[in-house]
Structure formats: C-alpha cells, structure tokens
C-alpha cells in the first residue's frame, strides 16, 4: 500500500519493523518527530518510550535497556549528537547493540537548527575518544530512511555495535509516497547456556538478569568482563572487532551505481545531495558528457575497493556534499591519480542539480575552482 510519509515518521516505522522496543530521547530539531512518533507508537505495543533530561541520559538509558536484551534507539541532531559521543564510545567498548539516528543540521554549535547539512560524517566515525569499530549509514529518500533504519538495527544486532544513521533536516521533514517492502530482521544471538560463557568478544549476547552475573565496564577488560589494564586483552578485543568489520566491509557496504559503466566524470555523493547529483548526471548525459554517480548508503566502513576502482577508472571525480569536504577527503585518499574535486556547501541550502553539473564540467576541464 502506497502511503505519503515523512522521513522522520519512516524512521520510526522502520525502527518498529526492526523490533525496536525501547526509545529514549531528548527533543531537538530536526529530529523531534522521530521521538514524537515513538511516544505514540511504542506504548500500545508494550514498548518503552521515555523522554530523558538530556542526550547523555538518553543514550545511557538506551544502553541500559539494550543490556536487558531490548532493541533500543535514540534520535537526535548536531548538538545532541556531540553530547552523545561519550556514550557512543561506551557502547562500542561494551559491545552494546543500539541505534543512534542523527538528523544533521548546520553546525558548528547551534548553527542553523532547521537547515540541512551533512557535516557529521567524521564525527559519526571519530567523535568519541580512542579507536573503535564503527558503522555509519545514511539515506537519500523516505523509503531509504525506513530501510536503512531496519538495516541499522540488523547491523547493530549482528556486530554488537552502536550504529549511527545520518539523516538531514530536509530528508527528515520531506514527504514522499512510499510502498514499504518486507525486510528480513536480525536479532542478536543468545548463548545456549550461561555456563562458561564469556560475555565479550563474542557475537552472542547474554542480557543482564539471566543467570550469568558478570561485569559490564567501560574500563579496558578481557573476554570475561574483568578489568584488565595491561595484559593485552583490551588490545586483542578491539583489534578483533575492527578486523571483523574490515573483513565484512563489502557485505556492510550499501551503494547505488548510476550510469557508471562508461563514465569519465564520476560524482560520488550520498544522502539528500545524491538526489541532486543523479539529476546532474541526467543533465550532463543530455549534453553528451559521460557522467555517472556512485551513491554511498554506507559511509563507514568505507567501501574501499569499490570507491577505489570507480575512482581510478574516471578522468575526474566530484564529491558534492553539504560540508567542506569530509567524504571528499576519503575519496581523495582512494582515488589514486584521478583528480578529485570537493563541492561543499554549509549555508543551509541544498546543492542544486545545475550547480553540481557545472562543477562537473569545470572538473573535466581541470578547473580546480569547482566551488
């Protein structure tokens, strides 16, 4: 059945589809409708909705709930996402599945609270102190928002990680006609028995209150949960988790290829900006320019081989995004000799197809001032 749905509503519906039974949040534009929908949808289903006193509290409650076995999420935007970084690190350190939706707005600081941006790509990966495995997804349509929310839960349950889904102010508030398709749902595996089970470094998850009394701590620890500062256990657990993601980066990577087969001019874009880039490809193709688009739906881990091979086959790459070159930096590091041009914007407006197209023409002429 086709429905006219807002991006934030699609996110809430995706979460329910994925089996989310716990939401804790704090109001902030432009993400608030996600929590408003969860406040309406969870109680009749017996799920828990709670409005907390700030974003640290929200993610703290989410992590606590996840340790009882619940699929749990929060949703926020720029300033709230900054506050959540400490608990994102805690969730990574304690191998806690949870989903954090960040509807991006222009920053830094209060910035432009209701205007779209894509400036949190690096923060989503590196915002918490220390090294950690990270999965960051994004979406470019209302249908994507639904599907990637389910995928965020599926990946967080599979890898026992906090998974970030990056939306933006426009996508959050946009309405589109959507028919939701069925998506498989993954739920974290439980160990067959508490006897001898090591709660960390295992894909299996033993919730609190099930007979295995162990320690969950953000301190460096070993597989049993015991604090271990210096015997190599923490190093071992961290490398194992990061290596596992790297080994499965291709499986985690969601991309869309558009007109790439013979493309000499390649746009690499994501989120709301990818829609304009697709229109720019059509515009350039009509002029006889062999343009193509690689749309990234997974931002971290970076789909390395794919980005690399697409980039090296091109004559020029343009990376349109609503920040000053965050993904462009990642592409440039993988593009070999192919010239890579960032096309950034941080004024709260979207990049238009004609602006992206003219940046593409300039890039083909080697004009470094594509901006």
């Amino acid at each position: 059945m086709e429905q006219l749905i807002q991006g934030n509503e699609a996110c809430a519906l995706g979460a329910l589809r994925a089996g989310c039974s716990f939401f804790a949040g704090y109001p902030i534009s432009p993400s608030s409708e996600i929590m408003e929908w969860m406040a309406r949808l969870l109680p009749p289903r017996g799920g828990v909705f709670v409005q907390m006193e700030d974003e640290l509290a929200s993610l703290g409650a989410v992590i606590g709930a996840s340790w009882t076995g619940a699929k749990a999420m929060t949703a926020t935007s720029g300033p709230g996402f900054s506050l959540m970084q400490e608990h994102i690190g805690y969730a990574a350190m304690t191998e806690t599945p949870c989903v954090i939706v960040d509807s991006q707005r222009v920053g830094p600081s209060t910035g432009m609270p209701t205007m779209p941006a894509q400036g949190d790509v690096m923060q989503a990966r590196w915002g918490s102190h220390g090294d950690r495995p990270a999965i960051v997804l994004t979406a470019s349509s209302v249908r994507d928002t639904y599907e990637m929310t389910v995928e965020a839960f599926n990946l967080s349950e599979t890898y026992r990680l906090p998974v970030v889904l990056l939306l933006d102010a426009t996508l959050s508030h946009m309405r589109e006609n959507v028919t939701f398709r069925e998506i498989d749902v993954i739920t974290r595996a439980r160990p067959a028995s508490a006897e001898g089970f090591e709660p960390f470094g295992s894909p299996e998850f033993m919730p609190l209150g099930n007979g295995a009394r162990f320690m969950v701590t953000g301190l460096a620890h070993d597989e049993t949960g015991h604090q271990r500062a210096s015997n190599g256990a923490a190093d071992r657990l961290l490398r194992r988790a990061i290596d596992r993601l790297d080994a499965e980066a291709e499986r985690i990577a969601h991309t869309r290829r558009y007109q790439l087969e013979d493309a000499s001019l390649v746009f690499i874009s994501y989120g709301i900006t990818a829609r304009a880039a697709r229109a720019a490809v059509d515009e350039l193709r009509a002029e006889g320019i062999r343009a193509g688009l690689l749309e990234l739906l997974t931002l971290w881990p970076v789909p390395d081989p794919l980005v690399g091979s697409v980039a090296r086959d091109a004559d020029a790459i343009v990376v349109p995004e609503l920040n000053l070159g965050q993904v462009a930096l990642l592409v440039r590091a993988r593009a070999g000799a192919t010239p890579t041009f960032p096309l950034g914007r941080v004024n709260g407006t979207l990049l238009r197809p004609d602006e992206i197209a003219s940046a593409g023409r300039a890039a083909l002429h080697g004009d470094r001032n594509v901006r």
């Binding site: 716990f22 109680p43 509290a57 703290g60 409650a61 606590g64 996840s66 320690m215 969950v216």
Partner: protein, 273 residues
C-alpha cells in the same frame, strides 16, 4: 544479620582485592550493603548494581550480582534504562558525591522527580578521591582540597534537601560511624517501592583527612560523629553546624514503571477503540 563469613557469597571473590585505600569507608558501606542484601534475601540473579566513575562507583566490581560500571555521573541514566526495560529487576546505583552531585546532578534530580524504583547510594566523602583529592560540591566551606588549597569558599549541596525538593520518596542520611544503622536503612530503601536515596558520609583518609589534617580512619569516624546528630534528638537550634541523620521522607507515591504500565494499558485500549 549473619556473620561476615556468610556474607562472602555476595562478593565477587575473583575481583578482590578491592581498590580502596586502607582506612577508606567505602568497604564499610559495601559490608552494610551485603548485610542488607542478606536480610532481604535478595535474588542476586535479578539484581543489577550500577556504578558511575570514581572510588565509590567501583563497588559493582566487587559484588556478586549483575554489574555495570558506566560513565562519570551517568549511572542513574543506565539504571533508568535497565529498570524501564526490566521492571522486575532490583536496580541499585552506587555513586560518589562528585559523581552524583556535580557531573551527575541533573540525572539525580530527574531520577528523584520520576520516582522510579531505584535505590541510590551516594557515598559522600566530601572530596574527589580517585582523581587525587579535588574540591567536590559537597566539600564543606573552609575545607582544603587539591583545588581549594586556601580553603573552599563554595556553598556545598545538602544532598538530602536536594533529593527532598526534587521529589524522592525515600530519603535518608547516615554515616560509616553508624555501622549498625547503615544496613537497616539500606534494607528499608531496597524495600521501598519508588526512588530511594541514602546519603552515606564516609571517610577519605588519603585526601580529605590528610589535606585537612584530620588524621586517618578512626579520627575521621569521630569527625563524622561530631558533625552529625540523629534527626529525632535535634531541635532547630541544635541544627546549627550539624548535619541531621536518619530518615527524612518515607512515603508511597505512584511509582514510574507502574504508571508506565498503566499508560501502556490505556494506550492499548485507546488504540483498539
């Protein structure tokens, strides 16, 4: 109350020895907690002890329950999530004074306001221990710390007044000097169906005692004894300069997880209509 030997089953032997300094009062509080657990025949499998960060917040490591050692000041947020998702679990939050009153002050007042069925133990040694003896929001005026070398000019929080104003439904204060009273109060707090908070004055010989030339363990217990007076023996005039101890509030008000269950029921019926 059983003898010490029997209380060992409440302790996680493989995590010993504990981290606390000789003469520290935190171990006394842990003993009191195990006595209270024993008196209530607490089901360890269905109990979660949550700590924040700091000396007091290390207690979950040494208790033979489900245990969560979280982030500085945020223990009550994790505890809230656990309790909301599994209302059948007994959830105890153990925090220090800096943990609960400074960085975690916001979470503390909101947990009080919600009246969610958690038991919060605030171990107040009037100083930051783990980081090396800095000023806490509970350090009395004039007292020295690593960051108030000329004596504190700050007004300390009165934890009890704060909790009462914020809406906690069981509020008590005791000290590690009151060794027999501690387990009784904790037992009452565990049985209380709502947010219960006990402030326990405890001694830090390493920093508070040394920096203020108050001496070590025994002398600091005397300091606690001298600065407090049981609530029932105090008149308003006596209060000057003394902290009252005892139970300040013990009343039943609608508890959050029960209100939430009722809300779900209403929402479910509403959804059907």
């Amino acid at each position: 109350m059983r003898r010490g030997e029997d209380l060992r089953r409440y302790l996680r032997q493989e995590a010993m020895p504990n981290v606390w300094c000789p003469g520290c009062g935190h171990g006394n509080v842990m003993t009191a907690l195990t006595k209270a657990c024993d008196a209530t025949q607490l089901d360890l499998d269905n109990t979660v002890v949550v700590g924040g960060i700091g000396c007091a917040s290390r207690m979950p490591f040494f208790l033979n329950t489900n245990a969560m050692h979280t982030t500085h000041g945020r223990a009550l947020t994790f505890a809230t999530g656990i309790k909301l998702a599994r209302p059948d679990l007994t959830v105890i939050a153990v925090m220090g004074d800096g943990d609960a009153l400074a960085i975690g002050g916001n979470h503390l007042i909101h947990a009080c306001r919600r009246n969610i069925d958690l038991t919060a133990l605030i171990l107040n040694n009037e100083i930051y221990g783990m980081t090396g003896g800095q000023l806490a929001p509970s350090t009395p005026q004039g007292m020295r710390s690593a960051t108030s070398p000329f004596g504190s000019i700050e007004m300390p929080f009165d934890t009890v007044e704060l909790a009462l104003a914020a809406g906690a439904t069981y509020v008590a204060r005791t000290t590690t000097f009151d060794f027999d009273e501690m387990p009784r109060l904790i037992q009452a707090a565990l049985a209380h169906p709502g947010f219960s908070l006990i402030e326990i004055l405890t001694q830090c010989p390493t920093y508070f005692g040394r920096l203020n030339k108050l001496g070590a363990g025994r002398a600091l217990l005397d300091y606690e004894k001298d600065m407090t007076e049981p609530l029932e023996t105090l008149t308003r005039e006596d209060l000057a300069g003394k902290l009252p101890t005892g139970v300040f509030r013990d009343e039943i008000r609608p508890e959050y997880t029960r209100r939430y269950a009722a809300l779900c029921e209403r929402a479910r019926k509403g959804a059907r209509d």
